[in-house]
């Protein structure tokens, strides 16, 4: 639908987390899984085949900045209301380095996605990777009820690259990291400060 009423625009955030090793209790092991959720009021197919589950107010996304020059940036995703039976899945899942994409989409007051050539919709808001996660448990003594909140700390590529150290070093461990069968560097540790008698007696 074309944009006609600028006074009644709705917006929602859509989060996509691509987890390489998600622990699926039903499956009984790890598998690739893409988590799709949004703070929209209803489930919505933002892209073909990608339906984002509506979590409404249970999703919190911290602010982020868009800058012309690439700078390091972090973003925190908070998901509340996690069921206690899901805790095992969360703690066993390897979230670190999972790719995170956050989109912002604009809707009309009727909940239809605005389709107007003058704007890009949805617009990409954040690209990054999960850097850390925390799980917070809130125990209500009176109600005998536990509610859990998971916070995913995300870092963009610039932040990760600034922390990354790469390059091959002159030791066998470093060589075998890239070329497991290559033994060329195996003798270097034994050669450090080794003394060799060079030249025979005349």
């Amino acid at each position: 639908m074309a944009l006609t009423d600028y006074n009644h625009i709705r917006t929602a955030l859509f989060v996509k987390i691509e987890v390489d090793q998600y622990y699926d209790a039903a499956y009984g092991g790890f598998q690739n899984k893409t988590l799709l959720f949004s703070d929209h009021y209803k489930d919505f197919e933002l892209f073909t085949g990608e339906t984002y589950t509506a979590l409404g107010d249970l999703v919190g996304v911290s602010s982020s900045m868009n800058e012309l020059t690439p700078t390091s940036g972090t973003l925190t995703l908070t998901i509340s209301g996690v069921a206690s039976q899901s805790i095992t899945e969360i703690t066993r899942t390897k979230f670190n380095s999972s790719r995170v994409t956050v989109y912002r989409a604009f809707f009309t007051q009727n909940g239809e996605l605005i389709d107007d050539v003058s704007i890009t919709n949805p617009v990409g808001r954040y690209n990054g990777y999960v850097n850390n996660y925390t799980l917070q448990e809130d125990w209500d003594q009176e109600l005998r009820f536990t509610s859990n909140t998971i916070s995913l700390e995300c870092s963009n590529s610039v932040t990760l690259l600034s922390k990354k150290t790469s390059g091959r070093k002159t030791n066998p461990t470093s060589m075998k990291k890239y070329y497991p069968n290559d033994v060329s560097f195996d003798r270097i540790p034994a050669l450090v400060n080794a003394k060799i008698d060079f030249g025979g007696a005349s």
Binding site: S166, T170, D182, V183, R187, I188, L191, N193, G199, S202
Partner: protein
């Protein structure tokens, strides 16, 4: 008694002169001066004896007859301390650049008279944006700051040269005592220092380096094997301070940035899909 008087007394004892009065004392002093001059000259000759190589920590055991000014025997052996480093980063060269070699292996053979060294030089880079592989070549090699030239086999050092042009000075110290085998992409990619010996192929590194087998691949590396034959007279007693001038065909800014961003070995390891 003072230090000076002790010296005089020692000199008198050495030459058997009894000092009485001023004249004998003057004679004794003259004789002592001559004796000390001789000692100093001997010491100077000792310091001029062949010294260990500057690039490696060495110590030589030299026996001299203290009663004669000439050297009778030289024990032909030096203790070479290998300058290995397990935490050195291997450089990446784009375009042209000078690199210091990093020691990877050292083997002593031929009754301790031949030393083989393997030195890593730089990483082999990836393809350019057209998909053509990069090529690393050896342009020049310097030993103790002097440029090396080779015989027609491309490996044996013919001479080292100090300076450039007509004023360059030739040094034949390394001639016949040093051989350098170059490889531009692992053990199975022999090459030579350009432009000399371009047609020469010296074979796989693991067939040349003593003690190496097919798993000594030096994967993804430009490197060199260096054979040093001990020569006490010419003072070839170890690996000199080396510098290699390398050239990489990958030098355009776009190619370089793309390679450095995408390499999983020495770069950022960003996948091609994430690079626009």
């Amino acid at each position: 008694m003072s230090l000076i008087s002790d010296i005089v007394k020692f000199g008198l004892g050495q030459f058997g002169i009894q000092a009485t009065g001023d004249t004998p004392k003057a004679i004794a002093t003259s004789a002592l001066t001559s004796f000390l001059t001789q000692k100093v000259n001997k010491a100077i000759k000792k310091t001029n004896l062949p010294s260990p190589s500057a690039s490696v920590s060495t110590s030589s055991a030299i026996a001299t007859d203290t009663t004669k000014s000439t050297i009778e025997t030289i024990e032909r052996k030096v203790k070479v301390e290998i300058a290995g480093d397990t935490d050195a980063g291997i450089p990446v060269v784009y375009g042209e650049g000078y690199v210091q070699p990093l020691l990877v292996d050292a083997v002593l053979t031929n009754s301790q008279c031949t030393m083989w060294y393997c030195v890593a030089l730089c990483e082999v880079t990836g393809n350019d944006l057209n998909g053509d592989p990069s090529l690393i070549t050896f342009e020049e090699i310097y030993w103790e700051g002097k440029k090396l030239t080779f015989y027609s086999d491309g490996n044996r050092v013919a001479a080292s040269w100090e300076g450039k042009g007509a004023s360059a000075k030739q040094d034949l110290t390394l001639s016949g005592n040093v051989e350098i085998y170059c490889y531009n992409n692992g053990s199975e990619s022999p090459c030579n220092v350009r432009p000399q010996g371009l047609s020469v192929n010296h074979g796989n590194a693991y067939l040349i380096m003593p003690g190496w087998g097919v798993n000594h691949q030096m994967s993804g590396l430009a490197f060199a094997l260096i054979k040093v034959s001990y020569d006490a007279e010419k003072e070839v007693k170890g690996l000199g301070s080396l510098r290699f001038k390398m050239r990489n065909t990958l030098k355009k800014p776009g190619d370089v940035l793309n390679d450095y961003m995408s390499s999983t070995v020495y770069g950022a390891g960003i996948s091609a899909g994430e690079i626009d």
